[in-house]
């Protein structure tokens, strides 16, 4: 009569089934599995003449990029808007059990770490006046890996040293921790959190909703990049705090989603507090001057910079003076951020099927690449609304993401996009 047997049996059965499944997994050869996971056949493509070729990632990439650009420009083109140029960004990485999943190769954790590194470098390249700090979530608690700082390498070093994942994830603990830090930073700084979230749940000590409100009240903009699937609480968090919530489909996509956070975000009116920041413009020490730099504690001949306030010697800029804490920058560092103030308008697609399409320019104005497809048909191209010059897709991306000038407009005496509103 004893019901317990059944139970026991049932459990056992399940056990076996599971094992069998695993066996199937193992039966696959390594190289087979590689295909199964990467689904590389999907990236096979035939061109019009039936020739086989790897998928034209260029076109796809461009398409994605266009979408992104449009989504940004919808707000920005209408009127020029402020950008959060001075950012205090906490990057929170979920190293909970879920991060050991291997749907990203070799593992979510590894991939996340890799791209966070790339992100950090890009971030400081685009925001020389900003700061980053790293936080990891393990075993249901958040831990501060690095404090807010301006040197990419120190962060990356710390991150790579602290890999490995375990336990549950707790969004609330992470947010609480960050909130604790970000509340102290000066008001003009833009407070941001970027969370790489692997887990599908959050195991919190209390009501996370209150924490979210707390973040909202102290103007912390929280964004999440999900690695597994969309989670309600994350979307809610981002909505409430004016951040963005995206979920990565694959590694490439994840990289893109991350890098979207590198350029300074448009400043939210109610968040933005403008202020004057005291900064020092150190002079390069004359050649032949010998002094012990305050960062390495070794005598440097020439080179280096001298803090205008406390006369301490620092090796490179931008930095915060070791001694008196004055922010030290050089004028080019400011200049680096100017393009955020004068963004260039997105280019318009030019449909190749225009009535007089044969009259269209035959080469990209920027790089001279022919814009004519086989059979003398005009190829894919975009045109600058100001100077009406035509560009190839690659230039389009390069111009908007790295160069930040329209070569066409710059090559004309009139219609400087830069000058004034």
């Amino acid at each position: 009569m004893d019901p317990r047997f059944n139970v026991a049996e049932k459990r056992q059965l399940n056990g076996e089934e599971e094992e069998e499944e695993e066996d199937d997994e193992n039966n696959m050869e390594a190289w087979e599995r590689a295909y199964a996971d990467e689904r590389s056949w999907e990236s096979l493509q035939e061109d019009e003449s039936g020739l086989l070729r790897a998928i034209d990632s260029n076109a796809l990439h461009h398409a994605q990029y266009r979408r992104r650009l449009r989504s940004l420009s919808t707000v920005s083109t209408a009127t020029r808007i402020q950008k959060g140029l001075i950012r205090y960004l906490y990057v929170v990485i979920d190293f909970s059990r879920a991060a050991s999943e291997t749907d990203f190769k070799p593992s979510r954790m590894a991939v996340a770490a890799k791209h966070v590194e790339a992100f950090i470098r890009e971030f400081f390249d685009q925001n020389p006046l900003s700061h980053i700090a790293l936080i990891t979530i393990r075993d249901g608690v958040a831990q501060c890996l690095t404090d807010l700082g301006g040197s990419p390498d120190s962060h990356i070093k710390a991150l790579m040293g602290k890999l490995g994942c375990s336990g549950d994830s707790s969004l609330q603990n992470a947010l609480d921790l960050v909130h604790g830090y970000l509340n102290q930073i000066p008001s003009y700084g833009h407070r941001e959190v970027l969370i790489l979230y692997s887990a599908l749940s959050t195991c919190d000590p209390g009501d996370i909703m209150e924490t979210i409100q707390k973040c909202k009240n102290s103007k912390i903009r929280c964004s999440v990049v999900g690695l597994s699937a969309e989670i309600y609480i994350c979307r809610h968090l981002c909505q409430e705090t004016g951040g963005t919530y995206t979920v990565a489909m694959d590694e490439a996509h994840m990289k893109e989603l991350l890098l979207e956070h590198a350029p300074p975000p448009p400043a939210i009116a109610e968040f933005a507090v403008s202020n004057l920041i005291k900064m020092g413009f150190p002079q390069r020490a004359a050649e032949g001057v010998v002094s012990i730099c305050s960062c390495h504690k070794e005598a440097k001949v020439g080179g280096g910079y001298t803090c205008p306030r406390c006369k301490a010697r620092v090796c490179e800029l931008p930095t915060e003076c070791q001694i008196c804490g004055l922010t030290l920058v050089s004028s080019p560092h400011l200049a680096r951020s100017y393009h955020h103030l004068f963004p260039i308008t997105p280019f318009n697609d030019v449909s190749p099927t225009l009535p007089n399409s044969h009259k269209l320019p035959r080469a990209c104005f920027g790089c001279q690449q022919p814009l004519i497809q086989s059979g003398n048909k005009p190829g894919l191209r975009v045109a600058c609304p100001n100077c009406n010059q035509h560009f190839c897709l690659d230039c389009d991306i390069y111009i908007h993401e790295s160069l930040h000038n329209c070569p066409g407009c710059e090559s004309q005496r009139n219609s400087k996009p830069v000058t004034g509103e």
Partner: protein, 379 residues
């Protein structure tokens, strides 16, 4: 391939090896000057350029002022080369007097053409084409004297050829007959392509010819790879070239061929074919590596290790059988005779094989005499 690498360092070594007079004579030819200039190491090129219009001797020291600490060795090499080629002449007060190796008007060359490459390459299979080319040209030149030709003339002609625009037709009757004769040989080598017109005929230099003047760095010969080899011995070649598919067939089983993709597998059989044709495993491997598709070229190793190892193994397999001349004994009178014989053979370490049921022996030929002796004694 090794032996080639060793011999034909590059063309300029030969030029440098020429006696002073001949060398100076060569320099009267613009093409030679440019060829020489191009063959120089980067630093040397720069030096030549910057001393172009200097007519007074320049002290070696003042040259060294420009060199950074870790560049000195390169600097030395460059200077030596220049002196070796008599571009710089050492003068008593330990300075180098530059001569002018380059008249100020030299034409711009045009890009080369696909099909000509293929035509040229058909003569040259697995090995680094330039390597072979130099190998042969070197032979060709060195025994030119035997054919009663002046190597200097030959060299200058070859170099001149190398500055002709690839794919341009040049009229044959502009040439002296020595050159005509040479040209025929070159045609066989695939350096030029001869074309018979109605009354006139032309020759068309191929890429190989125009490459002649370039010193033998892999760089000059290297092109985008196209082969992907996978751990499961499958092989994908993204190429439309007939030549490529032919080369692959030499050592791989081509399974099917799409317009621009050749899919094959490296099998024991296919490799044995290759080995029989005297192609070595090393050659195959290095071919696969040299032509690795950019995607896989990034990785190291560009060809999976298990594949390369297996290829080497299979090659060694061929040399596994060892032949020992031996004698076969049977029809023993009795069991014990047989056993006696086999024991005897065994003791003397000559026994190769025995079958006691059918009473047969195979014994090393060296022992044949003793065996016969032994057997006779048994009788």
């Amino acid at each position: 391939m090794p032996q080639v690498r060793i011999i034909a360092k590059n063309f300029m070594d030969m030029v440098a090896a020429l006696p002073e007079l001949k060398l100076d004579k060569l320099y009267e030819n613009t093409f030679i000057c440019e060829a020489v200039l191009r063959s120089l190491p980067p630093l040397a090129k720069k030096y030549v350029l910057q001393l172009l219009f200097i007519d007074a001797p320049v002290t070696a020291k003042s040259m060294e002022e420009w060199v950074l600490a870790d560049g000195l060795s390169k600097h030395r090499v460059a200077i030596d080369r220049l002196i070796q080629l008599r571009v710089f002449l050492e003068t008593t007060e330990s300075g180098a007097l530059p001569r002018e190796p380059m008249p100020s008007n030299i034409t711009v060359r045009l890009p080369t053409l696909e099909e000509l490459d293929v035509y040229a390459l058909e003569q040259w299979e697995l090995m680094d084409t330039n390597a072979q080319l130099w190998y042969i040209m070197r032979e060709y030149i060195s025994n030119s004297e035997d054919r009663g030709e002046d190597p200097a003339d030959l060299i200058s002609f070859l170099l001149e050829l190398s500055f002709h625009a690839t794919g341009q037709a040049y009229n044959l009757n502009t040439l002296i007959d020595v050159q005509m004769h040479t040209l025929k040989d070159l045609a066989d080598l695939g350096l030029v392509k001869l074309q018979q017109g109605r009354k006139e005929s032309w020759f068309i230099p191929t890429k190989l010819a125009t490459n002649l003047s370039m010193s033998l760095t892999d760089s000059s010969a290297r092109k985008e790879g196209f082969v992907v080899v996978e751990t499961n011995f499958r092989l994908y070649a993204y190429s439309t070239s007939k030549l490529h598919s032919e080369i692959l067939r030499l050592f791989a089983r081509v399974e099917y061929q799409l317009p621009n993709l050749i899919v094959g597998a490296i099998t024991k059989e296919s490799l044995y074919n290759a080995f029989e044709n005297g192609i070595t495993a090393e050659q195959i491997i290095s071919f696969l590596q040299q032509n690795a598709h950019p995607r896989v070229a990034e990785r190291t190793p560009s060809v999976p290790e298990n594949v390369t190892d297996q290829i080497r193994l299979w090659e060694t397999d061929l040399n596994r059988v060892e032949i020992t001349p031996a004698h076969f004994y049977d029809e023993f009178l009795s069991k014990d005779v047989f056993e006696g014989a086999s024991d005897y053979a065994r003791e003397n370490g000559g026994l190769l094989w025995e079958d006691s049921k059918k009473m047969r022996l195979v014994v090393n030929a060296e022992m044949h005499a003793q065996m016969r002796e032994y057997l006779r004694r048994q009788k």
